[in-house]
Subunit: 357 residues, 2 copies
C-alpha cells in the first residue's frame, strides 16, 4: 500500500519480498536476528523498488530523535550569518541531521518566532545565531525542551562559540597606535532590530584600553555608534570630519569591514587616499577586505559555524564523560593590508576640496 505521497511503504516491500513486516523492518535496519539470505532478499527488493522509509513514521514509532535542528538567524543574506550557516550546515549534513531555517530579522518576525515557536516539536535542538536572547525569549525557548546553543555571540545560558571582541578591538587599535596614530576615530554599530547586545561592545573597550595604553585620552567627538550598514558608517564618517575640523583623525577603527567600506567611501570622496592621507582598519576579513586592500582583524566565521555544529552534536548525543566544551573562543589574527600605514605628516592639509573621487 502506497502512502499519500505515492511512496511505497514497508508493507509493500515485505509483501514483495515474501516476509513479514517485522522481518522487513529488521533487515532494513540491519538489526540482528535476520538470516543473511532473508536480509539480502529484502534489501534487494527495497533497492529494486527504490524504497526509502518514512522518517516521520520511524520517529513516531521508535521515539527516536528527530534528527532535525532549528537554525534561527537574523539575516541569512548578510555575510556573517551566511558563513555561520554554511559552517553549521556542512558538519550537520555530514552527520545526517537536517536544518530547519528560521529568520528573525525584524522585530515582528522575532516576536512571532518566540511566541508561536514554530519549530516546537519539530527539532531536537536549536541554534541561535549571533543575537542576544532576552529573559522572556529564553523562557519560551526552554519551553521547547530541547538543547540550545549560541553561535557567534557569548551566552551566559548556553554553550557558545564566538571571538573575543575585546581582543579584536585591542588588536586593531594597537596596530594603529604602533604606526604612530593618536587621533583614532571609531565607528561602532548596533543592529536596531537586535536590541540587547551589551551597550558597550567589547570592541569598544579594546579601543579605549589600547588608547589608554598609549597614554591617549578618549575623544568622544571621534566616536560614532550607528545602525548597522555601510551607508550609515559613511554618514558617520562625514559627521566625524565635519565635527573635528581643526584636528581630524589620522586613522579610523571600524567595528566591521562593512562599516569600514562605508567609511572609506566618504574618505575617498573627500579626496583622501589610503594610507597616505588616512589609515583604516576593520574586523572580519570579509571577502571585500582583500579586494579593497583593507587591513582587518580576521575571524573565520565558517569555522565558528563548524564548531557550533559540533556543540549541537554534543547536545544531541551527550557523551558520557561530559567532556564536551561549553564555550569556545575562536582565534583572530591581524591581517595587514595597504589601508594602514604611518601617520601622514600634516604639513599640508589633506586635499579636502579636490574631490578626486
Amino acid at each position: 500500500m502506497t502512502d499519500q505521497r505515492g511512496s511505497l511503504s514497508l508493507s509493500d516491500i515485505a509483501r514483495e519480498a515474501g516476509v513479514s513486516l517485522t522481518t522487513a523492518s529488521r533487515a532494513l535496519n540491519n538489526s540482528y536476528g535476520v538470516s543473511a539470505a532473508t536480509r539480502d532478499k529484502v534489501l534487494a527488493t527495497a533497492r529494486r523498488l527504490d524504497y526509502v522509509v518514512s522518517p516521520d513514521a520511524v520517529r513516531l514509532a521508535s521515539g527516536s530523535r528527530t534528527q532535525r535542528v532549528a537554525l534561527v538567524v537574523p539575516h541569512v543574506e548578510r555575510w556573517f550569518f551566511g558563513e555561520m550557516v554554511n559552517g553549521i550546515e556542512t558538519v550537520l549534513a555530514a552527520a545526517n541531521v537536517d536544518l530547519l531555517l528560521y529568520q528573525v530579522g525584524g522585530p515582528e518576525d522575532r516576536q512571532d518566532f518566540f511566541s508561536r515557536l514554530p519549530a516546537r516539536r519539530k527539532v531536537d535542538a536549536v541554534v541561535v545565531v549571533a543575537f542576544p536572547v532576552d529573559r522572556v525569549e529564553q523562557e519560551r525557548l526552554e519551553l521547547m525542551g530541547v538543547g540550545i546553543v549560541a553561535a557567534g555571540g557569548q551566552s551566559a545560558a548556553y554553550p557558545y562559540v564566538c571571538i573575543d571582541d575585546y581582543q579584536a578591538g585591542r588588536m586593531a587599535v594597537d596596530h594603529l597606535v604602533e604606526l604612530g596614530h593618536r587621533r583614532i576615530a571609531m565607528i561602532a554599530a548596533h543592529d536596531p532590530d537586535q536590541p540587547g547586545w551589551p551597550m558597550r561592545s567589547g570592541r569598544s573597550e579594546g579601543y579605549v584600553d589600547a588608547l589608554a595604553a598609549a597614554g591617549v585620552a578618549v575623544d568622544n567627538s571621534l566616536i560614532r555608534d550607528v545602525d548597522w550598514g555601510g551607508l550609515n558608517a559613511a554618514a558617520a564618517m562625514d559627521d566625524i570630519f565635519d565635527a573635528a575640523q581643526g584636528d581630524p583623525p589620522t586613522a579610523v577603527f571600524a567595528h566591521s569591514d562593512e562599516l569600514a567600506l562605508g567609511a572609506m567611501r566618504t574618505l575617498r570622496r573627500r579626496g583622501m587616499r589610503f594610507p597616505e592621507d588616512i589609515s583604516i582598519v576593520g574586523i572580519d576579513d570579509h571577502p571585500v577586505a582583500a579586494l579593497t586592500d583593507l587591513t582587518t582583524v580576521r575571524q573565520s566565521v565558517r569555522e565558528q559555524g563548524e564548531i557550533a555544529a559540533r556543540l549541537i552534536l554534543d547536545v544531541l548525543n551527550p557523551v558520557a564523560d561530559e567532556g564536551a566544551p561549553r564555550a569556545v573562543t575562536a582565534p583572530i589574527t591581524l591581517t595587514v593590508r595597504a589601508s594602514t600605514g604611518p601617520v601622514p605628516n600634516r604639513t599640508r592639509p589633506p586635499a579636502q576640496a579636490t574631490r578626486d573621487h
Copy 2:
C-alpha cells in the same frame, strides 16, 4: 501520556478536559460538530498545559502535506544565494511552511545530495537555487515525486524565476557605448563547481550585440572567462592589460559586482581612477556597489526569492484555474554611479607607474 520528548500528547489534554480523544482533536482543529462549551474547555486546558500537536503525527494520520520544502543551494554565504534564501524564507514562513536547507557547493556535496536524496520523503517540494540540474540529477529529483521550482536560473523543466541575462549584458554595455567607449573589456565567470550553465552566458551575448550595434568588432584579447570570485577577476584584469599594451580598454564590463570589485582593485593598484582613467560597470547592485560608487545593472534577488516562494506555494496548493505563472522574468534597471564616465582622452597615457594605490 507524555511522549519521548517529554511533551504532552493529545490524550493528556483529552483526559484532563474530560472528553474523548476524538472530541479533543476536533476542538483543537476547530472542526464542526463540537459544542462551543466543549471546545472552549478543551482549548483552555490545552493552553493551560501549553500543548502543541505533533506535526509528524498529524501528517502520518491525516496524510496531509508535510508543509516542508527543501531548499537546495550551492553556497548560502554568497550574497546572491543569501538574498534568494531570505526572500524565499520570508514568504514561506508567513505561509507556515518550513524550510529544510541543503548546501551543494562542492562536487561531492552535490553528488551526495542527488544520490542519497536526503530530503526524500521529508518535503512537499524542492527549490533549486541558481544552478543547472543535469539530466540524471533531474531524474533523481523526479524520484522524490514532489514539485520542483528553479530560482535564479532558467529551467526548461520547472517553473522558474530569473532575470533576462541578455538584457542585463546589453544594458550594461549599451551604457558604456553611449558614453563613447569602444574598447570595452569583459570579465565573465563560471563557478567551477557548477558546470552546466550554457557555455556562453546571455550576458556575453548582450555584450557582443551591444558592440555590434555600435559597429565594433569583438576583440577576444579583451575578454576573460574566470572561475567565480573577485580575486580571479583581479588577475584577469591584470592579464588583459598586460596583453593589450598598445591599445588598452577604456572600460570594462564585469558579469557581476563582485567581479567588478576585483577588477577595480587591479585598476586602482595600477594607478587608475574611476571614471577619469577607466569606466567599469557590473551587474547585481550588491551592497558593495553603493559603497564603491560602482555603476551596475540592478536586480532584486530578494524579490526573486519571494516570487520563487509563491511559485512553490502554487505547486503545493495547485489552484483550479491553473493560472499560476510558470516562468517569471524579474526586472532589472541600470543604476549609474561614479564608476562610469566619458572616454578619457588619451593624449597622455594613464599613470601606469605612479602606483597611487
